[in-house]
Symmetry: C4
Subunit: 229 residues, 4 copies
């Protein structure tokens, strides 16, 4: 894929975070990867969405070295790279501080799968990562943030659960490209809000696992029948 | 009624879901029925509201066969058809994943009638359906979703309670036409939000049944005196 | 005052309810009174805000008879009239079903005075009316709604507490004119929301009565020093 | 700095409060200080944001005397001046009644540091001031409001915790200039909302102090690496 086109996609996906009310100020970033060339395109660090152009997107290799662009990449870049390295099928990554998903992250509690809206996109609870150690926080912090995410997926399929909440921090989502990763960010925020309300109405809420499977499969299974495909 | 006109109405009603902030992406669908011809008009499956035209609406008979339209109908179509078959006076059906109504559905708790806003439109609690069985989930799931809704109304009048929440899923509403069904969707979302807040302030809240009757009747009873009629 | 001017004011005040997100559909009404002539101007019943003109406002005398206007007045008119009769200094009345104030009304709990925002406008808790009796609900219901409001102010000054919540129903506010009554509606909704959140953070919250007095007096006392007057 | 330029900045910063949904009506005010000349520029009292121009900003010296401007300054001016006198590095001050921050103030509870969003801007809990005494409330109330704020920072660095909630009242924030003070207001409101939700999900939530330090330092420490600097 054309790098110019990928920059444009990443740029647009970053603006979509604003459009969907997932970020204020510079509180979010989107990246995408060109798997063939092993190049990641990401938002520059601390630049306001209004001032940004597609050309400001920063290009790095998987060692984290900038290969194109005048600006410093997002400080969260090492987390994105860690995800691309360990989840080989993903093509886009998003990080935000969206209110409800971040609130669950701060609470340190997995977002429970209690509705079909959730099951349409995430095949199980959205996991919350473990506490980071002193070494991880004081060492390569952003890279280690990626490490604890990958660890949380040791027994899970990242293609079926396209997102995570990092404890005390906030959500990361991913998808086959930047656009889908943003879409999954919007979904996570919506289900995070609804889960809060449901728990408040009924603390003992659960969902039949058969219903989970049914909804996930009708959109993502081998016999998916949702949409026009 | 002219099918072209009905398509236009259903198209507009689908856009109204967006206008009233009841849906994001493709998370909702509206249908209407031409009772004389036994034809249902419904939104196509998984098509973005922005890309849709009135001509994209799909026409089916009550056996669920498409009789007009190039696109696949909403995957929820069998639920809509089940409602039209069993509730003979309704002319429009709406399904959304609106936040608060869906949250009550996820909680598996009827939305309690505790205010006159609710009583102006729904004559009692808005019922939540029972858990679906393994056979229902793995069988004709969307049709069976309709079956459990109808079952929930075995002892209730769907014309006086124009909506339901499907457990772990979300709200369905109906009305004499697509427009009124959308209106009732907006109302359900509003009363679902207010009921949450009221319960949080006072878990033991109740309402005098006389007040319920008074409000429902002044809008819908034989001596209704609300509005200009 | 010119009746034409009063109609224009009432019309604008009704539109302001929409602008301030206090009403959807036809869920609110504003009136004003010409004290010299004893004439009340009010929104017509069940008419959408978008379709309304200043000329559609209905004029009634204090016996509740329409003296000008082609449309039926708001079904809540007898409540408004009862307030004008009993609270001689008020010039405008507003009724809405705004989410948080209505939720407190549904909960049947006074909105507690726990902040200076509240004290800047309301000198004490915002009272919730008592349950209405069978006779009141089945009799002249809307007039009796006014009666229970007036009863709630038997030991209170309506000029210092310009609003009330009617149990299981919703808020009424008033002021020296329609504009001020709308303003007080916006304030009540804001303080109702904040009181909910505060109570959720700390169920035992209270406020020093001295602080209440200080804030109310600096805006409304004989030595008021807020604003440009 | 040019006073005209400072007036323009303060004017713009006041309008930004509206843009960020932190204030309705006249419920907020922004000021800035020219340290060299010892002059404070602040919003006039009780003037609607829509009617205001940059020329309406009021200029005072640190004794609280108006030296330029036709209008009365904000009634909260003595609080702003107290902050400028005691926090020598700040250049701008903001006061609002934003919903969630005010709700925590009403609850009388510090906004707990439980997430990195908070730690990116505030190095610890956002403190809530103590109850004011009878003498303080009945004396120079607005000046004493500043006194209790300053007292709350006896053992804290106002440059690392750029805001406070005044008990039963609402938030004050500050920064190197008016713009940064507004920015910190937006942040406080966002973290106040998220803290509420987190506490509701998990009342026992905490955050590793190492993580707090890491996030605050990567933006504000001597080796800060966030952004383009």
């Amino acid at each position: 894929m054309d790098l110019k086109k990928l920059k444009e996609e990443v740029f647009q996906a970053n603006l979509d975070l604003v459009k969907h009310n997932l970020v204020i100020f510079t509180w979010g970033n989107v990246s995408a990867i060109d798997r063939e060339r092993g190049l990641v395109v990401i938002k520059p660090s601390g630049v306001a969405y209004d001032d940004m152009t597609a050309d400001d997107m920063v290009v790095l290799n998987l060692e984290g070295n900038v290969v194109e662009g005048q600006l410093k990449p997002s400080s969260d870049t090492p987390t994105h790279i860690e995800l691309y390295k360990n989840f080989p099928e993903i093509g886009g990554v998003v990080h935000t501080h969206s209110s409800y998903a971040t609130a669950w992250a701060q609470a340190g509690v997995d977002i429970p799968i209690i509705g079909t809206t959730h099951a349409d996109y995430f095949a199980s609870d959205i996991p919350c990562t473990r506490d980071m150690t002193k070494e991880e926080v004081e060492g390569e912090y952003e890279k280690e943030t990626g490490t604890v995410i990958v660890e949380a997926f040791a027994d899970k399929n990242p293609n079926h659960i396209p997102g995570v909440i990092v404890k005390n921090h906030g959500p990361f989502t991913w998808g086959k490209d930047a656009h889908e990763a943003v879409h999954n960010s919007v979904v996570m925020e919506a289900v995070a809000k609804m889960a809060l309300v449901s728990k408040s109405v009924n603390p003992n809420v659960t969902m039949n696992p058969l219903l989970t499977k049914k909804h996930f499969d009708r959109k993502h299974g081998s016999n998916a029948y949702y949409g026009q495909k």
